[in-house]
């Protein structure tokens, strides 16, 4: 397992796929469409588990359930809500492992919220073992 994290011998990369969606729009989708999307998500996760690409993931609670901790005047300040108000909010994420960015994008393209109006941010994970 250790050799995998050795930068020189590493042949795969981890990518974080962040699923962003306009929560208002999501709430307005018909119940059946939302259910279908969630079913497709389950099927995709199963598939990616089988092929060994899936590492972890979670669906997040609504952005209204978010708390933000900041450092202000030398101490932590706590506020309700996300750190930035954006049209789309992060609704969940998937951590995948694959060979390169092209493969990560190909996997991200299969995420079922895309055709419904969502967007996916694909970010490579940094390996900190050298630090």
């Amino acid at each position: 397992m250790k050799s995998f994290y050795d930068a020189k011998r590493r042949t795969t990369m981890k990518y974080l796929l962040m699923c962003c969606f306009d929560e208002k729009l999501w709430g307005e989708l018909p119940e059946t469409q939302r259910k279908n999307i969630m079913d497709e998500y389950q099927a995709l996760e199963r598939d990616l588990e089988k092929t060994g690409h899936y590492k972890s993931g979670a669906k997040l609670g609504p952005s209204s359930s978010t708390t933000t901790v900041r450092f202000k005047n030398g101490k932590p300040a706590i506020t309700d809500g996300p750190f930035a108000e954006t049209k789309e909010q992060i609704g969940g994420y998937h951590l995948i492992e694959c060979g390169n960015l092209d493969e990560a994008i190909a996997i991200a393209m299969r995420i079922p919220t895309l055709p419904a109006g969502g967007s996916i941010e694909v970010r490579p994970v940094e390996y900190l073992t050298q630090v």
Partner: protein
């Protein structure tokens, strides 16, 4: 209860810090991560490469369009995620307030949704077809 903590970072500010300052802050962060690990609060975590290396996928006019960069331009960008196990939100806030990473940028703490019931229901629906 699991919480996803999104750690944001002002990349510009980070880049103008001296090597020594960055190292000191990282040492503090890793030391605190170790404490969280020892106490069973650290479920997982990943540091992300610069937001410059992000790719965003969107559905446009019936097909997927791919653009370079994060999905939204904000002063602070997502720098990493930490999956935290805590009793409740107050406990999660308490634990993350002590995390030295908060000095580099805000943490957004979001409860995860328990999908077990939804997954079971989805499996039932799919097994019928």
């Amino acid at each position: 209860m699991k919480y996803v903590c999104l750690g944001y970072l002002d990349e510009e500010k980070w880049n103008i810090m001296s090597e020594k300052e960055r190292e000191a802050l990282m040492d503090e962060c890793f030391a605190y991560d170790d404490i969280l690990r020892k106490e069973g609060h650290f479920v997982g975590g990943e540091a992300l490469q610069s937001a410059k290396n992000a790719t965003t996928l969107r559905w446009q006019n019936g097909k997927i369009s791919t653009t370079d960069g994060p999905y939204t331009e904000t002063k602070e960008q997502l720098g990493g995620i930490l999956i935290l196990e805590a009793r409740d939100l107050n406990h999660a806030i308490q634990l993350m307030s002590r995390h030295p990473g908060v000095k580099a940028g805000p943490f957004e703490i979001r409860p995860t949704e328990d999908l077990n019931a939804m997954v079971a229901e989805s499996e039932r629906r799919r097994s019928k077809t």
